[in-house]
C-alpha cells in the first residue's frame, strides 16, 4: 500500500491545504509520496521533502505544468497512478478540478471531500450541504479522494527527510491554455487558513458598510468572509463566500454579523470552535449554533466592538 498526495502550490510556496491532506493520507496508514507538478518549482519540492512523514517527493518540473491546468496534470498523475493504492488531493478548486478528471482516466469512482478516514477503504463525507454524513466504502482498486482540509489538523511542515525524485513530463495538453489570473491581494490572512474569521451577511446592507467588519478584522488579525446573500447582493466578491457553494472554514473563532444562518451558510462554518452571532433578529437560526449571541443592531454593535478590542 502506498499513497500519493498531489501538492497544491504556486510554483514558489506549498499551500497549507496540502499539510491537512497529508494528515488524511497518514490516517490511511500507507507510506506517503508527494507529487509536485509545476515549473521552476524546486523550492516547493524542497519544502515538501521537509514535511513530516513524507517518504518521497516526485517532482515534475516542466513548462507543461506551469499553470497546473487539469488536462496536463491529470495525465501526469495517470502515468504513475498504478504504483499507488490511494491518490489524494485537497478539496480546493485545484483538487476539485484535477482529481475527477484523473479518476475517470483510470476508471475509478472518486470519493469527494472526506472528513474522516475510518479504514483504508472506508470514509466519512458530508452530503446535502452537510445535513447528513455518509459513510462510504470504496471497492475500486485505487482510491481517488479529495480531502476537506478543515476536517484534518495539518501535519508538521518540518522534521521530514524525503528523497526528491525527478518525474518525466507526460507532455503538454493542447486542449486548454492559460490566459491570466486575478488573485485578490490582501494583507489579511487567507479565509480557509485564518484562526479568526468575521463574516457579514445581507444585514450589512451595502458593500461600503463592510469597512465596519474590516476594521475589526484588522484589530483581530482575522480574515473577512461573507454569506452567499451578501455575495449575491454584490456587496463583496465571490471569493469571500463561506458556505456549501463557497469556502469551508473552521477557525478558532467565527463571528457572523447580520447573517441569518441558512443551511447553505452553516455548512461552511459550523465546525468552527467558537461561534459568535450578532443579529438584530433574535429568532435568526444562526443563534441556534452560536456559542455567544448578541441581539443588537450591527451598526451600533460593530463600532462598539471595534472600540472594545
Amino acid at each position: 500500500m502506498s499513497t500519493l498526495v498531489i501538492a497544491e502550490h504556486d510554483n514558489s510556496n506549498l499551500k497549507p491545504s496540502t499539510l491537512n491532506t497529508l494528515a488524511a493520507a497518514t490516517a490511511v496508514g500507507a507510506s506517503v509520496h508527494l507529487l509536485v507538478a509545476g515549473k521552476d518549482c524546486q523550492s516547493v519540492a524542497d519544502a515538501c521533502a521537509a514535511v513530516e512523514g513524507v517518504e518521497k517527493v516526485l517532482l515534475a518540473d516542466d513548462d507543461a505544468y506551469e499553470n497546473q491546468l487539469a488536462e496536463s496534470v491529470a495525465t501526469l498523475i495517470q502515468s504513475v497512478a498504478s504504483n499507488y493504492t490511494h491518490i489524494l488531493a485537497p478539496a480546493t478548486t485545484f483538487g476539485k478540478n484535477v482529481l475527477p478528471r484523473l479518476s475517470a482516466l483510470i476508471d475509478v469512482q472518486q470519493i469527494s471531500e472526506i472528513t474522516e478516514v475510518l479504514s483504508a477503504d472506508t470514509f466519512k463525507r458530508p452530503i446535502y450541504a452537510g445535513s447528513c454524513i455518509a459513510t462510504v466504502k470504496s471497492n475500486d482498486a485505487i482510491k481517488v479522494i479529495t480531502v476537506r482540509a478543515t476536517a484534518f489538523d495539518p501535519v508538521s511542515a518540518a522534521g521530514g527527510s524525503g528523497a526528491i525524485e525527478a518525474l518525466g513530463s507526460a507532455g503538454a495538453s493542447s486542449l486548454s491554455s492559460f490566459v491570466g489570473e486575478e488573485i485578490a491581494k490582501s494583507d489579511r490572512p487567507e479565509l480557509t487558513a485564518a484562526s479568526i474569521v468575521i463574516s457579514g451577511g445581507r444585514g450589512m446592507q451595502s458593500g461600503d458598510n463592510f469597512h465596519l467588519i474590516e476594521t475589526i478584522a484588522d484589530k483581530l488579525g482575522a480574515a473577512v468572509g461573507a454569506s452567499r446573500a451578501a455575495v449575491d447582493a454584490g456587496f463583496v466578491p465571490n471569493d469571500y463566500q463561506v458556505g456549501q457553494t463557497g469556502k469551508i472554514v473552521a477557525p478558532d473563532l467565527y463571528i457572523a454579523v447580520g447573517i441569518s444562518g441558512a443551511i447553505q451558510h452553516l455548512a461552511g462554518m459550523k465546525d468552527s470552535k467558537v461561534i459568535v452571532a450578532i443579529n438584530k433578529d433574535e429568532d435568526a437560526p444562526i443563534f441556534q449554533v452560536a456559542d455567544y449571541g448578541l441581539v443588537a443592531d450591527l451598526f451600533v454593535a460593530l463600532p462598539e466592538l471595534a472600540e472594545a478590542l
Binding site: S112, A129, C132, A134, Q244, L294
Partner: protein
Amino acid sequence: MKIVVPIKRVVDYNVKVRPLSDQSDVDLNNVKMAMNPFCEIAIEEAVRLKEAGTATEVIAVTVGTSASQEQLRTALALGADRAVLIETDVLLEPLAIAKALAKVIEKEAPKLVILGKQAIDGDNNQTGQMLAALLGYGQATFASELSIDGDTASVTREIDGGLQTIKVNLPAIVTTDLRLNEPRYASLPNIMKAKKKEMDIQPVDGLGIDVAPRLELLSVEPPATRQAGIKVDSVEELVGKLKNEAKVIS
C-alpha cells in the same frame, strides 16, 4: 453550434434532508424535487447563447429515473429545444452518469457541453470533469464568464483567492459557478409549449456501458449537533466572554 446541457433532478434546495430512522440512506419520502440550481444556470447560459445567435440548438439531457422527465420539461420550458432521458431504475454514481452522457454526446456531437459544477444532493463536483476525460475534451470548470470565439471558448473561472481566465478548444466541457448568470423563470406560454417538444427516452442498458456501483453506502447519520450557547447583553460582555471564558482573543 449545438449545445448539450446535462441536468439533474435533486431534492429542492429549501428542503432539510434527514437520514432514515435505520440510517441506511437519506429520507427522500415525500420531499419536493427540483432541477439542481447549478443546472438551471447551465440551461440559462446555453439559451442565452442561442438567443445571441451563437448556438443553434440546445439539448437537455439527464440520466435518471422516469420522474426526471419533470425536470427535462422544465429545461424545455426554459428554452431547450429537445430533451433526452437516459432512463435508470436507480440513481447512478457520477462515473456511471459521465459514461452514459459520453455516449449521448458522441452521438449528438455538440460543440459545447455546459453542466452545473455540482449537484446539491451528493455534493460530489465530479461529473463534468469526468465527462471531459472520457471524451478527451478540454475542461473549464467553475465558470463565471463564458464567451465563444470561433473554435475556442474563453472562460473566467472562480478559483480560491480570485479569478482565472483560460481558453479551451471546442468541443469542450464548461461547468457553471453561481455568478455565471441569473436564471429566468419559465413563463406559462413556454411551459405549455414545452409539453409539445420532443423528448427521447432510452434505457441505460442499451448504451453498453458498465454502470455497476463502485461505492457502498454503509450508513447515513445526522451531523454532530451544536448546542446553542448563551445570549449576551452587551458588546462589553461579549468581549469579556471571548477573552476570559472562550479564550479565543487576547
